[in-house]
Subunit: 639 residues, 2 copies
């Protein structure tokens, strides 16, 4: 009879008491639970399924939390969570959202860090081990990282330094032959030869870094894993345990309870498969796919036009079909944001027009390269920034910091489109020969997509159509390409703001995603018969700069200027408007009251967007209230 091991396990100690059969049963039960969870809730299921036996073995051999297990990126820590008192969060639907998708010390003492970006586990583990050794403590330190992480810069720095430091550090290297999409880079051929030779082939990358090395072919055999971990457990120097696992193992199994679910269980990304089965495409995929379709039209004529993705194509609308058609115009660099941006600068320097596409949270990793290799060298690199701005993201993937991080770099033009059409025009211009410098374009969020759809745009499940349409309607000249095409339309310059509605007294400057909110505010200000304010509405266009000419004009007949942005205010865009009027007052005595509305400087973790908007006053009633209040203070409106 099968015992419900999953339902009774409370502490990882109990794993150590199980016999061989029970260990196998436990793995099987976890695997089934993960598949169910994935189909109902979604999540990084594939990588977790591959690590079931390794995690059970880790808890069977090591004594967490005394021993420290650090999961790289940490989205593959579900089994660890299940084994450390959090099984119900993966088994009981009503508790699904009681744990995060990443390790989190606030959830459990078995979790060392909150981690969501790739490649830092070895460095963190090396730090833990250093402190242990300085204190003459004797606990064990384990870092668990996947093959995708190995291409990531900081992982390599960590491995090289762990080797130099010495002491007990066990690095479990989970090789499932693929990272998020596929692995990219010259090392993966050598890793394949290591697998083929049972870990004996040279050159061995880990040994080249001065690390001891062991290979485990059967990484999904819990007994083999326990045996291997026991052998290295008490090592006096860092050891890499290269384990060969099967990503998504068991994903296709039947579920006695649910049968074959219709919801697709994506192996990698958060989604809600059942609930979203028939939902329309989100803003990232919609706009990403439209952009790719537009660019694709130009590939034949422009050898230097290329799309670069640091291992995150799918979620940004860079579909497999597009990648295949794009051929050499598409480059997946692996999880290497720094290289991707630097490489793009090289392409741009040589006359190309590269487009680097990834999330705001991953562009964070390239601040130095954006500043030095790109902005200082003024190369025509287009940075397509997805998921910028406020959202319900977890605390490791927030886009709320983008304007503060990227909007203050000298020479980097940041654009925040307020419609899909404008987005396409911006990408078209930034990638044309008419532009010679770096441009970051913030791909709009769901607010803008909703507005587009209300106008009948981007409604279908095939956003490629709009991209194609754009390409057909616009023949922006590509001077400098070999075909020598004529310029038929003078490329629009995106260094000016657009007045959407001309009013007086109050001006609302609604950046990017806040444009629908800005429209609402202006409408409501005008709607109050007794105290109607006919406010001006402006699309600022740029998040990195202000349009000084327009701001100076506004000062003539506006005494209140309100800036809206769905990002952190400190270091943000509104502050630039404030500064402009501060200087204007200094120079001319003209006083304009500026009110900045936006986000506080804080980490937020999976807080609903509407709740964040309430918290930061990014709602129509709150903004109207503030405007009326300030209008009274400035005498613009009677009490």
């Amino acid at each position: 009879m099968t015992v419900d091991l999953l339902g009774t396990l409370r502490l990882p100690d109990e794993v150590r008491m199980l016999d061989a059969d029970q260990l196998e049963q436990l793995c099987a039960q976890i695997r089934l639970a993960l598949v169910r969870y994935g189909k109902q809730h979604g999540g990084h299921i594939g990588s977790n399924l591959g690590l079931v036996e390794a995690c059970v073995a880790l808890h069977a051999v090591f004594d967490s939390p005394r021993d420290r297990i650090v999961f790289d990126v940490s989205h593959q820590s579900y089994v660890h969570k299940i084994l450390t008192g959090r099984a119900s969060a993966f088994v009981n639907e009503e508790q699904f959202d009681t744990v995060t998708g990443f390790t989190n010390p606030q959830e459990s003492e078995h979790d060392q860090f909150v981690l969501g970006h790739t490649g830092t586990a070895v460095s963190l583990a090396t730090g833990l081990a250093k402190m242990r050794d300085m204190n003459h403590d004797d606990y064990h330190v384990v870092a668990v990282l996947g093959d995708g992480a190995l291409s990531s810069a900081v992982a390599f720095e960590g491995l090289n330094n762990a080797a130099e430091q010495g002491g007990n550090i066990i690095i479990v290297f989970n090789d499932n032959e693929m990272s998020i999409a596929e692995n990219h880079g010259g090392m993966y051929g050598q890793l394949a030869r290591l697998r083929e030779s049972q870990g004996t082939a040279q050159p061995n990358l880990f040994e080249a870094l001065g690390l001891d090395y062991r290979y485990v072919e059967h990484g999904n055999d819990v007994h083999a894993m326990i045996q291997a971990l026991r052998e290295v457990k008490d090592t006096d120097h860092p050891v890499v345990l290269h384990i060969h696992t099967c990503k998504g193992l068991g994903l296709d199994q039947q579920d006695a309870h649910y049968g074959v679910l219709e919801g697709r269980c994506e192996a990698n990304h958060w989604q809600n498969p059942l609930a979203q089965a028939n939902a329309p495409l989100g803003s990232r995929k919609t706009y990403g796919r439209a952009i790719m379709a537009m660019l694709e039209q130009r590939f034949d004529e422009e050898p230097g036009l290329m799309v670069i993705s640091p291992a995150t194509p799918g979620s940004n609308g860079i579909t497999r079909e597009f990648r295949e058609r794009a051929g050499a115009h598409y480059i997946d660099t692996g999880i290497t944001e720094e290289h991707a941006v630097t490489f793009a600068s090289g392409v741009g320097k040589a006359g190309g027009r590269p487009v680097v596409a990834t999330s705001a949270t991953f562009f964070q990793r390239t601040v130095d390269q954006l500043q030095q290799e790109v902005a200082l060298n003024h190369t025509p690199v287009t940075l397509l920034e997805f998921s910028g701005g406020l959202s319900d993201a977890d605390n490791t993937h927030s886009g709320a910091f983008d304007i503060a991080m990227f909007g203050n770099i000298p020479g980097l033009l940041g654009l925040a489109p307020t419609s899909g059409e404008q987005l396409l025009a911006m990408v078209d211009w930034a990638t044309s020969q008419a532009n010679d410098g770096p441009v970051m374009i913030r791909v709009p969020g769901p607010q803008i997509l909703d507005a587009d759809r209300a106008q009948g745009l981007f409604v279908s499940g095939e956003p490629e159509r709009e991209g194609l349409q754009y390409a057909r309607n616009h023949t922006l000249g590509r001077d400098g390409d070999e075909a020598g095409a004529e310029i038929t339309i003078v490329p629009q310059d995106f260094r000016t703001s657009r007045v959407i509605k001309q009013g007086r007294g109050v001006a609302v400057l609604a950046l990017g995603n806040t444009m629908p909110l800005g429209r609402d505010v202006v409408d409501m200000l005008a709607a109050d018969d007794a105290n109607a304010i006919e406010a001006t509405l402006v699309d600022p266009v740029m998040f990195s700069d202000v349009d000084e000419t327009l701001l100076r004009q506004l000062a003539h007949d506006h005494s209140v200027v309100v800036t809206l942005e769905d990002a952190q205010l400190e270091g943000g865009w509104g502050a630039k408007v404030t500064r402009f009027y501060e200087q204007l007052a200094e120079q001319t005595g003209t006083q304009v009251r500026v009110v900045n509305v936006g986000a506080e400087r804080e980490f937020t973790d999976r807080v609903a967007l509407c709740e964040l908007n309430e918290r930061y006053g990014l709602t129509t009633p709150a903004i109207v209230h503030t405007i009326r209040n300030v209008a009274m203070q400035t005498g613009l409106q009677a009490c």
Copy 2:
């Protein structure tokens, strides 16, 4: 008879016409010129001396600028500059400053990029090569990088991706057995074995990354180098040419003209050896050495107190003697800023108190890790930021962006001390058990050191004395350490600003290095008998936050608040003060005029600090003028 080849060479083409003897003579002449230049002017002489033959060979074999040579970090491009029409800038004293210390496309078409940060050359070269291949062009692409660069994250990403891309890319890997201080990391043992075996030993790191590999033992033999480069020149895939050179070769030779100069020719860092022979220590070394001396007193009692330097100890006052005495309390991680910061977070998580010491411009590389691994995880890491703020630095090493980059990260406390004593107190507090979160401390610049010295502090060439004195005078408790020392002084909390002088009407908030300027301004405002303004002077203490309590108090009897900062205003600290008063006005109607004084958002290249101060209005007359102007506008002062 020896011909003055150096004096007649104008174009690199001419190198290709020289015979064997002439090539050797050219190398000898270049070497002598470099030594002279180094002794008179200072510079990265050591690495350039090691690369004389390699650079001559590169220009003898390749056809620059058609072929593209990318120098990593690019401070080892002097010989390249000499060979590409810029010899006089290294030979004629009056022309010494006509070229920068780095490659620069504005200087010569032979220079591909402006580069000053380590490890990006391979990615850039891979980008150039990609574009060449897309265009079906046939020029060659060469990346030249040193052994120190290899530990740097992005270099590894580049190597891995170059291998995947394929095509003609020649990577000259200059192995002189040392980077800036020493090489650190497990790979360096394997590199030594490669040298010993003439490149035949396994594991071979480059081959492990999928790259072809050749070894040249005599990297300082120009003929061997030409031969080796010719062999790989037309490769159809990336090749690493590992060349073994001698850093600083010829440094000790006699100079017929100058004899044995007394000025030391430092192998690595910019300095002015003759002029600065008897100059007092600068602010970096002075304050760095004082801090290290203070921390050292605590090492015996605090196993978790440690200093981490990503390969930049010397210029930050972390002397060789200190490093030796510190033992396991000092860690050089190699050129790996990302690892250094992440590692520190691990140490802090395990209870330690790590101090990461490097320049502002290198902390840029860790924005992601500072935000995710450090701030989000709230680990007690102290970040000792050197060279923050305005300076005459070149455009790749400016500290003017520090506040915008680090002052807006949630949960990261940034401190800007206004004296050496305060600096020591801040480091003492940040590294104590009384502090549990990340703190970045901006080491003061020459302005503050001058002010300290005017008071008789930090005057001697042995700043260690002040550090020692501080440690003796303060017995800040180290609760939690094993010795269980008592807390005898409640640790000061640095989350409040300090009122230096109480006045009314106008308040001057002088951040960090601007405090001497702030004092001057306040003095001059008071000095005008007819229109004396007794202004308040405040030391804000924090560059990441404002002291809201104090700002609210100031609003009672001040109508003008002036913020001073020697850093970029956009994204900066003054904007936070502006925002506070904007909100106060909104809530209470109390109007305070705020004036932010600081730097524009721009790159500057070796512009004298006094010129920058003039440009940005960071001078006493300019600020006094502005204050009197605004005071009139606000009615605080009669016209």
